[in-house]
Subunit: 326 residues, 4 copies
């Protein structure tokens, strides 16, 4: 099977690599020629220009876009939509906003093309571990690219099988990918995945902060502990209710440097945490934890906030308080 | 009527002053002789030492302690409890933790003394506006000090009267003070008052922050507004649902300097916000807003948090992200 | 001065009434003839149909729409936009989403018409107290309707004047209305106003819940208080830091029935609380309190949530816990 | 090695069983004779009474209490403290409040006894998977019971080893248990573990709620998805950033019944979620997520809240709104 991988960054490059490893023919394109050259060394066929790709692929052609969400995806989607031929399949594997999928899918359909959205989790570890994928789009098209999905997916691995009451055939989800619904559904599910990720990360972060601050000098001595965070993260990995892959990563980080001094404490957020709140509000679902996790990141990026200044101004107004922070 | 005012800081000094103005005899004591001298110029009788006060008061003596909550109140309460004579009344008008009242009340009762706790709101404006008071303690003793309470209270003022369905006698609460229940109840209600205050302040603070950041250069131009926060705070004072005294204070602050540049953004918290969360947890009452308001103050006092560093460490772990804050 | 008031519900009807009282000529229209008839009894001129209004108004005509936000406003705006003549002014006084203003303003401008958005606070009390108004739109048009705005506004009233350091001319905001910026700015500010309102309301609600639950039978007896919430709400109205108009309303409600038994506890939300979160996320402003206030309303409207069921399912999974709620 | 296991419920019974399996001599006691009989069938020696245990154990005796936190633990600790002989070791493996450990440790020390606190995670799965343990107490005593801890712990298993930069000896934490610090430190760390657990559970719960409500009929049709939650929970177990043991349990629950109809949605909380907030407040650490997770459980247990009723009362007051929930 043959496909074009468009966008060869951290994610796209590794995915092309994994597909080549599994016997696929991959036409690799990136606007950076060095990235293309790198992919070629891994066994892909390089494309110097988007325009040459249609002639390098069998029909229906499969274009897999692996680009940063936003303007670049929009631009390249338009270009590929212009180049592609009737019946071709265009996959957006980036972190696009699922509502954009609805428009793109419609626009492509009007041109006789089929759109598939694939939300991909797995980060830089995916080359080795496989990519967990959530897919949206028409049944036939998703079925057509199934070999690709299966090759990228982690497979069942050593994860214990979930007992299911009714006998059922092969369970796609056990392979690590799942067709969630029509166009947009894949990115929707991936978005919620990331929303949960924010909440889980913040839960760990707050917990470890409590552990660390327990050594604070202003606590009464008998209530003060100097805790070894590296040991604690490690011990929780085995047998505890809160073991997870995120905790594995915490253990790795803390084993290297318990003070995490190389991290400034300013934390970026990608769109998905924000869109998750938006989706929840549309549905009137209370999401206190997911929202608080997002807001903590916002707060991390400013030295002080106007809100805090206004609190002090009010305190000064009613109590004559001049802040001498505790 | 005569009483001793012990502690002549911002609150106690003004309360002594207000009482003298209303015809009370006030024995004024503070460990700082200058504060005593100041009270004497306002018409109080100075006391150079706690020990001389018992002989300066009629029986039953009324000791009104107006001290910072915590160790100082504990220490002076012990001293006064040792000096006072059977039947005397000891009032704690500070911001003590209500559970301490339970112990102090018991301890004083064993010595034949009566404890009253008075939670006082009004800040530095109380001299002029009067003090809103929430009172706990035995009926008889609270009744005994009623003239003092009435003199300190704001009185009905120009605030519109609340219509009450059943004809009732004079309504103490309309005078701006209320006997809430047994010992501890006054400080309990004052504590919740402050908890609410935290929540309201944070609501305003977040709202004004949204208004201010609407001028951010990274927003699309047509979605950007340069808003005059001083005008907005002023307009909301009249006819709007969110008019309040806190908003009056905001308007004053913003009329002076819209940028609030003299406030660093580090915001202290007194115990009451914390104790409110404690009380809510005891009762299993969800208090998302009151807790978030407290946590925002905690966050304001650190430059960056270990929690945030750990988020970045995880992001680096799974995605190779090096934070370039947005 | 003459204008058309379109939409004679709780808000529009009273506004027409207030304007007539102040000497304005008001052409009143509503799709419900009874509402028109009612307005006529108050001194307005009735219009039986939108189409007849243009000939009833001098040029430039002023159309003030006072309709529920959403489809109805959109529909009527389109109709009025079709009927109006070059140079006419169309005011949207409803609670429209400010981003819709941007589109509407553009669309009307293309037709030679001017759009003004007015965010109005004051609820059913506005007839008597006046309406607090936040205005967006072109300077000239806003200046043109100034007499109307001034008549609707509360005026300075008895609210203490804010001291301003620099001598300035008349201060519009003191009259209770303010021109915030270009089209959309009025609704934007009104939206944030409502966001703050949600937060303040929730702060009070949580605080009073703590007071009420303090009587819970499962608390140790000495930590239990039976508090009179009506008294407490009343006393806080005078001299306390948390006095506000919302608290006045709480006092009225609790004086009638402390148990609030006529309220089911299901709380609706209008769009503005949601949009406020959206605006904050666009700006990366942390709004923990405003969001929590919105989520509490969402939660209030379901008997139990799937989220809660899933918590129980996990608890059963790892601990064999069958929930016996405390 | 020999020890007494006191308390043979879900946790203690399985722990006794695991120890017997690994060659330990276990004296088993429970106030319920049936539980003792059950333990005897598993190979333990039964004790009919606490008082007989001292003579059944070598010196220094090891008493492992595995009881519900609170009064029962307190009572039995007092009894065992009275029976034990100088030099004996008393272990509290329950979920006690760590501040109680400080008192108990002191009290036992005065009697020549040594206290060890062990926070245990693993739930009903521990018999098979082993118990993750966090330990507080004196070095010598903890070292003395090391064989027991090692037998109960999960061991390294198949969990990938964390790379540590410096060569170090055997890493206790890799075995699934860790000596955290002096008395109280074990329960402190376990408490934070549970606080994190609450936050993670709530993050999943909110995320799955968003997925489920996406089928809501009041959403526009193109924005509605009928998602298979069982598939989604399964797919996230493989290769995704949010894989965890809690997610494994979710997958099991959803494979059985996607509607979770056997769970009422009322969720209990044990003390540890509450104490975590208490600890964070002592340290001034913002814990928005951990607190929100606790509050969601509080809210789940009431049909409607007084807070919500008060919101409606205010809405009625200013807007004449009678709630017609959306």
């Amino acid at each position: 099977m043959k496909l074009a991988m468009i966008g060869l960054g951290r994610m796209g490059g590794n995915m092309a690599h994994r597909l080549v490893q599994q016997g696929f023919e991959v036409v690799a394109y990136d606007r950076d020629p060095a990235a293309v050259a790198e992919a070629v060394t891994k066994g892909a066929t390089g494309a110097s220009d988007l325009a040459v790709i249609p002639d390098m692929l069998p029909s229906p052609a499969i274009y897999w876009l692996m680009l940063p969400a936003g303007e670049i995806t929009e631009k390249v989607m338009r270009e590929v939509g212009g180049l592609a031929r009737e019946g071709d399949i265009i996959v957006d594997g980036g972190n696009s906003f699922w509502k954009h999928d609805l428009e793109r899918s419609k626009w492509l359909k009007e041109r006789g093309l089929t759109f598939i959205d694939v939300g991909v989790s797995g980060g830089v570890w995916g080359l080795e571990r496989g990519y967990c994928m959530m897919i949206g789009g028409d049944d036939a098209a998703v079925k057509h690219i199934d070999p690709i999905l299966r090759a990228l997916a982690p497979g069942p691995g050593t994860i214990p099988r979930t007992h299911r009451p009714k006998t059922q055939g092969e369970w796609q989800a056990e392979m690590g990918y799942v067709h969630c619904g029509p166009a947009g559904a894949g990115h929707f599910v991936k978005m919620v995945h990331n929303g949960i990720e924010y909440g889980m990360m913040q839960a760990y972060a707050e917990g470890f902060d409590i552990l660390k601050q327990r050594a604070k000098q202003d606590l009464p001595e008998e209530m003060r502990f100097e805790l070894n965070l590296s040991d604690i993260s490690e011990v929780w990995r085995r047998g505890s209710v809160i073991s997870s892959w995120l905790l594995d990563l915490i253990a790795i980080a803390l084993a290297g440097d318990q003070s995490l001094s190389k991290f400034s404490g300013k934390v970026a957020d990608s769109g998905e945490g924000r869109w998750t709140i938006d989706a929840a509000i549309e549905e009137a679902v209370p999401v206190d934890v997911l929202a608080a996790a997002l807001f903590a990141r916002f707060r991390s990026r400013v030295e002080f906030s106007f809100a805090d200044q206004l609190l002090s101004a009010m305190r000064f107004g009613f109590g004559g308080h001049v802040e001498v922070p505790q």
